[in-house]
Each structure stands twice: as C-alpha cells, then as structure tokens.
Amino acid sequence: MSSPEVIETTNEDDEMATTALEMPDFDDEAATTGLTAIRERPDLTVEFAKQLLTNPVTNASGTISLSSRKAVNLGQFGLLFTKTQGLKARLGNKGQRIWETPSGMLNAIGLPRLSLDDFIALEWPRWLELSQNLNVPVGISFAGESSVQFHDITRKLDRLEGVFALKANFGCPNVKEGLAFGQDPGLTYEAVKAIKEATDKPLVVKLTPNVTNIAEIALAAQEGGADALAAINTILAMDIDIEAGQPVLGNTTGGLSGPAIYPVGLRCVWQITDPKAGFKIPVIGIGGIDCWETAVKYFMAGATLVGIGTANFCDFETAGRVVAGIEDYCAKKGYKSVREIPRAKFPE
C-alpha cells in the first residue's frame, strides 16, 4: 500500500467514484423523492407503429441477444429488436472482430447467425416466450442481399406470430450493385416496396450514415412505404496497429459505435425528421446513447424512440438509468408526458 504510484489526492478518487459511476447525488434524490409524493410522474408511454410502448427506449440490433437476459434486465426496455437475421447461416468474420477506440469501439463481426429457417424454428419461440414473460414487444431485424431476397425473407417472417415489427437493415451490401441498400435512393425505394408487398407488419428501415445525403435515402424509404426509420447504423471506420503495421480488424474496416458517434446520429435524426422537408414517419434515434441526457438530445433532434447499443455492453443497467433519467427530466420540466419534449429550436 506504500506504492509511490498511489493516487495521492482524494479528489481524483472521488471523481472516479462519482463521474465514472454516475452515483446518485443523494440530496437531489431525496428532493426528487419528496416531489414524487405530491406530483404525478410523467407518462413515458409512446405510440409507435400503432401500438403503445411502456417507454421510448429500445435497443440497437445486435447488442442484445437471448443470452443477454442473464445479465441485462430486459424488462427495462419498451421494445426489443433481435440481431439481424438473413436467409443463410453465417459464421462471422475471421480474425479480430472488435477494437476499442477513443470513446467508442469498432466492430466487424460479420453477422454470425443461424439460417432463417433455424431462427424461426429454434430462436423465435424463445424470443416470444421472453417477450410474453417481460411484457416487452419484440421486433425482428433482418437483411437481404437483393430486393427479391428481402421480399422472400419478409414472406417467411410475415407468417410468424407475435412479431411487433420488422426492421430492415439497409447497411448491408446489395450483392449485385456492391453498394449498401441504404446508400442509394433507388435501391432503398425498390427494396422497401418489395418488403411492403410481402407484409402488413410495421416496417422500420435502419439507415446507414455512410452516405452523402441521408435525407434523400430517408425520403426514398418513406415513399416506398416504410412505417418508421432507425438512424444511425455504425459509421464506417478503421484503426491501425503501428507495431504490427496492419489494420487492427480482421476485416480491415468496421463500424464505429459508442459515445463518440452521438453527434453524427443527432445530425442525421434532425435531417430525417424535418417536417418542412416532407418527413412524416417516426424515427428511432440510435448512436452513442449511454445516458439520459443524450437520449433527450435525440428527442429534441426529432426522434420518437431512442435505441441503446454499445452502452448495453458497458453497463447492464444503462436502459433503466436512461428511462429513469428521462422521467426525472420530464418531471423537472413540467412535461406530463415524454411526448411533450419539444423539438429543439433550429434556425430557419
């Protein structure tokens, strides 16, 4: 204990304990508890895809799996989405799949998954059971390699009982064109039409930020018949190991996520919810949310729901903290409902 490297000032220890852990300020908590007794708590319910959710917090696809239920209290979420499913089984990428970067992480996992038939037979019944036990609706994220494949997958998923919504991951490449669906308005429109022809279930289109103009893609999805949008998927990125002189990821490039990307997510959500630009459908704001403050920023940018991704890995109680923080914020501001959080005043 007499090591000279011991941090000598108590301030640093205190800061570590308070800021890093976000320990409650006990005086404030007491004050809030006092208010609870005399004031009605804000309503956190949100209507989404014509159904009522208990709160506006969902997860980014791929960050919660069935095995997460052993660690994360999934009942904290208002809505859950599965990992991205597809027609054929995949093992995922070889080599290093993840890497930490400043305030974020890179991933190039490569969508490991069961085949669609196995997912339907083996995994979906377990999701459904989880959904019923927790009373949290579950949607299925999926991706195809062509519009025809998106259509075919949708037809199979359409027959499943208990699916809250389908979420089409448009960050995956179109095999024929080599582009991600969400990187071209024409491909986006065509694929959304193909999906909607095969189902009446609500369709959420997940958009990639790796485009010049996300609004153009979002409009194409809306015109194709999407019921909602989700933005953003991860940002294409890479890192290099300077000792080895090679990229850190086996796949060379990967998707950047984590708190580092929330300003990009906010900008995209703001762009694709602007009523003056003709946007009418709700948006799930995703990207770097690890606290209620960032979630509120997404609401102010125009999001109806918020999705937590990487933060589910870092703190298993993130969703609960975010929900509680949104509720306290609404109470403090005098909003009776989370739906009253206004869009920020953006210059004309």
Binding site: M1, S3, E5, V6, I7, D13, M16, A17, A20, L21, M23, G62, T63, I64, S65, S67, S68, K70, A71, V72, L91, G92, K94, G95, Q96, R97, I98, W99, E100, P102, S103, G104, M105, N107, I109, P112, G250, G258, P259, D290, T310, N312, F313, C314, D315, F316, E317
Partner: protein, 268 residues
C-alpha cells in the same frame, strides 16, 4: 447462471510482484456466485475508454470479498493498480463457464505464465485428494508470485524463470520457459495416470504446452483471452475459431477450451 453487476468497494490493494497487484473488492453478489474458471469485468476508468476489462478472479470468501489480479500494462490496468481503499468501481460477473474436474481424474498440472497464473488459483482449491503440480513461468524473478497462495492446496509449486540470474530463492527454480519445465517433469514422470493439464498465460506458452500434451496424449485445457465488449454472448466479438469449423466465444463458452479443439492457426 445469472451475471450480476454491482458497485464494489475496494477494501485493499496488495502488491504481488513487479507491476502485478491484487485488489480485494467487496462485491457479495458476484463473489458468492463465482466458480473456478469464471472471470469478472471491471468498469473502464481511463479517459475515453468505455469497455469493461475482463480480469481473473484470484480468491473469494464467504464474507463477499473477491480478489482480482491486475498487471499494469495500459491506461485501465494502470488506474486499477492505483485504486485506493474505499474507492468504488462497477464490477460485473461471473462471466464464462465454470471448470469442472471429474472425480476420476487423478493428477492435474496447473501451468501459468505471468499474471495468467492467477486464473488457476481457484482450480487449485478443487484438487483436494488429487495429485497436483503447479508450474509457474515468469519472464523475470521480479514478476514471480503465487507460491504461498497455491501452497494452501498444492505442495508442488515449481517456478521457471526465463531470464533467471541463477539465484535459487524459489522452490525448484528453473531457468527457462514453463513449457520446458513441464516437458522435463513429464520425462521424469514414471506414471501419467489419469491426468489433465490446465494452462493460462501468453498464447505462445499455451500453444507450447498444448503441443507437449498432444505428444503425451494428455488432455489439455487452455484459458483464452480475447478483446471483449459485451461479456454476455450478445456482440459476438470475442470469437474463437474451432477445429470443427465452428466459432465459439470466450465470454459465453469459455474462457476455458480444450486445446485440441482450438484452431490455433486462425486464432488472431
């Protein structure tokens, strides 16, 4: 088994060797659930760092205390190594699958390299009534630790020092690698009985031990370390390529794998 998360209080920190320390945490929910082979994750403390770091569990007790062993190699492990008593830190665990040693196994070798030795101590406690031998390999003598702690359960504790200066303060001091000492011990062993080998350390050491075990037909189990994000089998980042072309994951299937099932050539 449920993975818990709790805010642990640091009770004390003890130096074990050069840049290696033991942190005793008060985290009763996790301590009571941890089984040999499993690990915990500590909240990232370094600025700009977000992912919790997996750490070996050294010992637990019935009073809710849990010891982790940290080697100061980077910004987070550096800050863990400076945690003071009464500091609080978020801990999750147990992660991974526990190790079970079958009753019919008669002899067990525990082979640790550097701070990797720490993961093997909980296994030592399972070996009552069996013949057991520890081989602890360190790069220098200044990094050596563990003899007293393993001595609670195991009599045979041999140390291999790669850069040995010839001093013989430690029991069975050996100049060379842990795998070389293991090989030497096997050659002098008249009867292998029903044996198993557990290795935890740098990949090169584990691979060398696995190769020796293959030659002798000994079952070998290795503790694998991979960069990890979720610790719950969700992100599928901590992949381990297997010989049968499947992929397993350190956080949900490991961290202990049969060495012969791991595709060492594809393990990045």
């Amino acid at each position: 088994m449920k993975t818990e998360q709790e805010v642990a209080m640091v009770i004390k920190r003890d130096s074990l060797a050069d840049r290696i320390c033991k942190i005793t945490l008060q985290c009763p929910k996790i301590a009571s659930r941890c089984r040999p082979g499993q690990f915990v994750r500590l909240q990232a403390l370094a600025q700009k760092s977000i992912l919790p770091r997996p750490l070996a569990v050294y010992q637990t007790d019935e009073d809710g205390r849990l010891e982790v062993v940290v080697k100061d190699t980077g910004p987070n492990t550096g800050l863990y190594s400076r945690l003071r008593p009464s500091a609080r830190i978020r801990v999750s665990g147990p992660h991974g699958q526990p190790v079970e040693i079958k009753p019919e196994i008669e002899k067990v070798w525990l082979i640790g390299g550097g701070s990797g030795l720490a993961s093997l101590l909980p296994l030592a406690a399972l070996l009552e009534g069996k013949k057991a031998s520890v081989i602890a390999g360190f790069r220098t003598k200044a990094e050596a630790f563990g003899q007293k702690d393993f001595g609670q359960w195991i009599k045979w504790f041999s140390v291999a020092i790669e850069d040995s200066d010839g001093q013989k303060e430690w029991h069975s001091d050996f100049s060379g690698r842990a795998s070389d000492l293991f090989s030497l011990q096997l050659k002098g062993c008249c009867e292998l009985m029903l044996s198993e080998v557990y290795a935890c350390g740098p990949p090169a050491m584990e691979k060398a031990v696995a190769e020796i075990c293959r030659e002798y037909g000994l079952p070998c189990f290795v503790f694998l370390e991979r960069l990890m994000a979720c610790g719950q089998g969700a992100c599928l980042g901590c992949s381990v390529p297997m010989m049968d072309k499947t992929v397993k994951y350190v956080c949900k299937d490991g961290p202990v794998f049969p060495a012969e099932e791991v595709n060492w050539n594809e393990l990045a």
